[in-house]
């Protein structure tokens, strides 16, 4: 794919230039890695039970990080201070039980590892951990154990990636419908451990709505319920201790998850609004009428322009002429200001007839807010943007551009204020810290709920002339998070807390709340075997 407009956009937005390039290392320098702390007894016992493992440096470094900016940077030009000492690959639930037993016996630390797509520093090894750190990689536990068509559930091993899960279910005509942006790599177990959210949650629900049954191996034994009743009143739901526990309590090994027949028909769509305010008002109305399509997202103007830069090379003169006509119609005839307008992308799913009906309903609401239908292509490209953005970040790094995204959830009445203030805060903090070019500071509303929305921020800047860009970046992200909290946003909608956002957790859930989590942790894992030190 050729993206002809990308270069111009990068130059215009960041003052980036293709002449200024940084190069990343071609391969890892093995001698830079910190020496392994080896617990021979543990290794011997693992060998004895025949579970595959590795002490190879590359295997260990690979599992020492997620996808935070500072981790990417460390990979490119530095090294982590602490990495796992050994990687183990259990192949089934029982293997995990044995490994956890051995870990307790030898007092080593386990960090479960799924797809490695964490963006909360959750996979980072605590620097001062003196015990052997075992990275428990679930990637070999990736089978669908059974499909129950009567109850529409599937029992799946937790190490399966999103992509594989959907592919394999599709063979039987089913899907889970859970599609986080990271689904190429992220795993079912990882979704449970972080309280993940999928793009199409409006139809299928978030992970907490999808899970029917869990099997979790902890140092105290196995946590699971004895039946698969669809709802229970049996005290606080113990699965809610697990969902969002971020690997601090145990390893999720098997999950029973709801499945649905693969939808007959899928249709993308998009709507152009004269400005962001109108767009948000429309989304709010859609949520009020509870008629949100599978996915509805609203990009602000800056992101719309970014999306435009990602437009592939046009096939013919005719299509480019059509594009011109469309642009003319919207900006000249309809009077939309190209520097104000914003776009909502839509995805409808279901029966063909119902989809078309649904589509009309949504477009009618949009029209009330000045929205104009803008075609399927724009919609589809909007969703593509989501998946390419992580790759684009790697590309940007080659040209002194660093960036990151972060998210929050916020009540409807504060959406506009929060978006404006956070974006402004980012711009201002950049200026104060000597960033020479104005940063990209953009947001979009990615999910709608009855009582609020999920908002995503993208933020990138050109770091030429700054000696410690990662530090500057972290300070700015810190400030942005403070701004989010001051404006009534949550600490996280679905990325989780990890170690990156730990410092705010107490203010978010009260000290008693922290104490409740603490006491669960103390009971389940008194020796801190699951010692990644997330959350608490």
């Amino acid at each position: 794919m050729v993206l002809p407009a990308l270069r111009e956009w990068m130059e215009k937005t960041f003052g980036a230039s293709l002449n200024h390039k940084t190069t990343s290392r071609a391969s890892l320098n093995v001698s830079d890695a910190p020496p392994a702390i080896v617990n021979e007894g543990f290794i011997q016992d693992v060998k004895a039970i025949g579970i595959s493992f590795s002490q190879d440096v590359e295997d260990r470094v690979f599992r020492a990080h997620g996808h935070c900016l500072h981790e990417m940077f460390a990979l490119r030009e530095g090294m982590f201070k602490r990495i796992p000492d050994v990687v183990v690959w259990p192949s089934c639930h029982d293997d995990v039980v044995r490994i956890v037993d051995l870990a307790c016996k030898h007092n080593v630390c386990i960090i479960p590892f799924g797809g490695g797509t964490s963006v909360s520093s959750a996979l980072e090894c605590p620097e001062d951990e003196k015990r052997t750190i075992v990275s428990l990689d679930t990637s070999q536990m990736n089978r669908i154990l059974w499909i129950d068509e009567k109850n529409l559930t599937a029992h799946v091993e937790a190490g399966i990636t999103g992509q594989d899960l959907e592919k394999q279910l599709a063979e039987s005509g089913y899907c889970t419908g859970h599609e986080p942006d990271s689904m190429e790599f992220s795993t079912l177990g990882g979704w449970v451990a972080t309280r993940a959210s999928g793009m199409k949650k409006n139809i299928y629900g978030n992970i907490e709505d999808l899970v029917v049954h869990l099997k979790v191996v902890t140092p105290q034994g196995i946590v699971e319920k004895s039946c698969q009743g669809p709802r229970m009143s049996t005290g606080p739901d113990i699965y809610h201790f697990i969902m969002g526990s971020e690997g601090t309590l145990g390893v999720v090994t098997e999950v029973t998850i709801k499945i649905r027949p693969v939808p007959e028909y899928q249709k993308y769509g998009s709507v152009v609004f004269p400005n962001f305010e109108r767009g948000v008002a429309c989304l709010r109305e859609v949520a009020r009428q509870r008629c949100a399509p599978a996915s509805i997202r609203l990009m602000d103007n800056a992101q719309f322009q970014f999306g435009h830069a990602l437009k592939p090379q046009v096939a013919s003169i005719f299509t480019s002429f059509l594009d011109g006509l469309k642009k003319f119609y919207i900006t000249k005839f309809k009077g939309f200001d190209p520097n104000q307008l914003c776009v909502a992308t839509l995805l409808f799913e279901g029966d063909r007839e119902k989809v078309l009906q649904h589509e009309k309903q949504v477009y009618d609401i949009a029209a009330k807010f000045g929205g104009l239908a803008a075609g399927e292509d724009n919609g589809q490209r909007g969703y593509m943007l989501t998946f390419v953005i992580a790759y684009l970040r790697d590309l940007g790094m080659d040209y002194y551009l660093i960036g990151e995204s972060f998210e929050t959830s916020v009540p409807w009445d504060r959406v506009l204020d929060l978006c404006r203030n956070v974006k402004e805060r980012i711009v201002r903090e950049c200026k104060e810290r000597g960033v020479q070019f104005p940063p990209l500071s953009t947001c979009r509303v990615t999910q709608t709920y009855d009582a609020g929305a999920c908002v995503y921020f993208y933020f990138a800047f050109n770091y030429r002339g700054i000696s410690d860009p990662v530090h500057v970046y972290e300070e700015i992200e810190f400030a942005a998070r403070e701004e989010i909290l001051a404006n009534g946003g949550s600490l996280s909608h679905h990325h989780g807390v990890g170690k990156l956002r730990k410092q705010w957790l107490k203010d978010s859930i009260s000290h008693v709340g922290i104490g409740m989590l603490r006491s669960v942790k103390d009971y389940i894992d008194p020796n801190n075997i699951f010692g990644n030190r997330n959350l608490l």
Binding site: D413, R414, D417, L418, R420, N421, E424, R425, L485, A486, N487, G488, D507
Partner: protein, 544 residues
Amino acid sequence: MRVVVLIYLWLIFAPLPLQLREFRSKKREVFEDVLEERRQSSDLRYAMKCFSPVIYRSLVPCKPSMLKAMVLESDQLQYVIKQISLESGEPLDAIQEQATEILDEMGQNLNLAAIRMFALTLSKIFKRLFQKVCVNEEGIQRLAQAIQEHPVVLLPSHRSYIDFLMMSYILYTYDLALPVIAAGMDFMGMKIVGELLRMSGAFFMRRTFRGNKLYWGVFAEYVKTMLRNGYAPVEFFVEGQRSRTCKTLTPKFGLLSVVMEPFFKGEVFDTYLVPVSISYERILEETLYAYELLGVPKPKESTSGLIKARKILNDDFGSIHIFFGKPMSLRSLASGRLNRSQYNLIPRHLSHRPSEEMQKFISDVAYKVELQQIANMVLSPGVLIAAILLQNFPSLDFSVLVDKTVWLKDLTEAFGGCLEWPDNMSSSKVVKASIELHSNILKLADGEVILFENKPNDPLTEEVVFAQAVTLLMCASYRNQLVNTYVRPALVVLACKMALSSSRGDVSRTFCFLRNLFSKEFIFFPGLKKRILKKEVSCCQNVI
């Protein structure tokens, strides 16, 4: 005794660095006389000039009538209306009607044609009344920048009705967005003039509306709507009313908390508070104030009264100095002090009684604003002369007066006061010119400067006593302008005299006691933080 005092001062404050020079030079910003150009070019052309002011960058342009509609439809006001209807049993429509009436009574009607008319007449009037109207240009530039960035609140000192006319006049002159001004209801009663003021951006508030929920609701929402939209800079007086004694009045918090709320709630990214100091060499209302202080009721504001007052046009009121202080970013002031997430759990249309922490913050900001106003006031020679004569009345030898004035001038400057003292004139000429300007209270005869004649043989009739009292009070008002410069050193010296022992602890304790005792009389930053105390008295130490 003096020596002892000095030693204690030195003992207490010796560790502080000598910052005097910096303190002095800081004030030497360049003033520009806006009347100078008026005297040379056509007022009409000036009034008709192309006016394309600097405005807030994310302003959505709207008319005063649209603004009113927004206020009436706002969730906040609708909620208040519903509440009142529920409590009183009156139908919603009736209350909505009342709200509309209140808003119509209150609302400004900013109109460029009226502004141009004001520009024309005010040019004529100001040129006759004043020798100079001096504005610090740097302040104007800072303000222009601030207006573009975030909503701005202008907070001038209040000594005269001229204050807000002058503010709008200056903003018009420098092509800045014209402010909407919270004015007292008194003006609205004036025929024609009231409407004219409205068209120049004044909106009117009742003096008291405690307990009137609807009025408060409409008023607060009106101010907040204008601020949120960046419609225009909002202007009001922290002191609440004109100070009759030239002493800065303790601040009022109501309106200030209203303009801060949009920031607290995150409805705006930031708000700039701009303290403005307006210093008059001679105040228009000086005699009226003296009468008021003696118990003669304030004449009601009326158009006929205004016309009658036109005789003052033949009088000379010297020069005015207007200092636009540094815009104070509310965000910076609040950073690290306030946790704005306290608003997270309450729906936004509910009014939220400020927490104790919040109230303390608002009060601190109010005092900060007033202290800034005070710091940027410009003192005229007349102030010094009045202070000296009050200690030497009824009369003083002219050459002695000149010597003492020069001495006081040096002392005042050493204490950080900012003086307007022409460098190119001899001291005696400066003093003479000042006496001439204040010829209504001062006379120079036979080499004697006379505050009031006191012939021993004359009977002390009521008129004589009254006249003397008026003169004395006017004089005292001028002297009062010095108070802010000297109040801290004075309290230190007093503390040294009063303290039980000469130990450092005793003296500072007495100082704190006195500062507390006079906290309603003079403007001190609330609380007794060590850092602030040290700063406050550092100037005394420097001088001594």
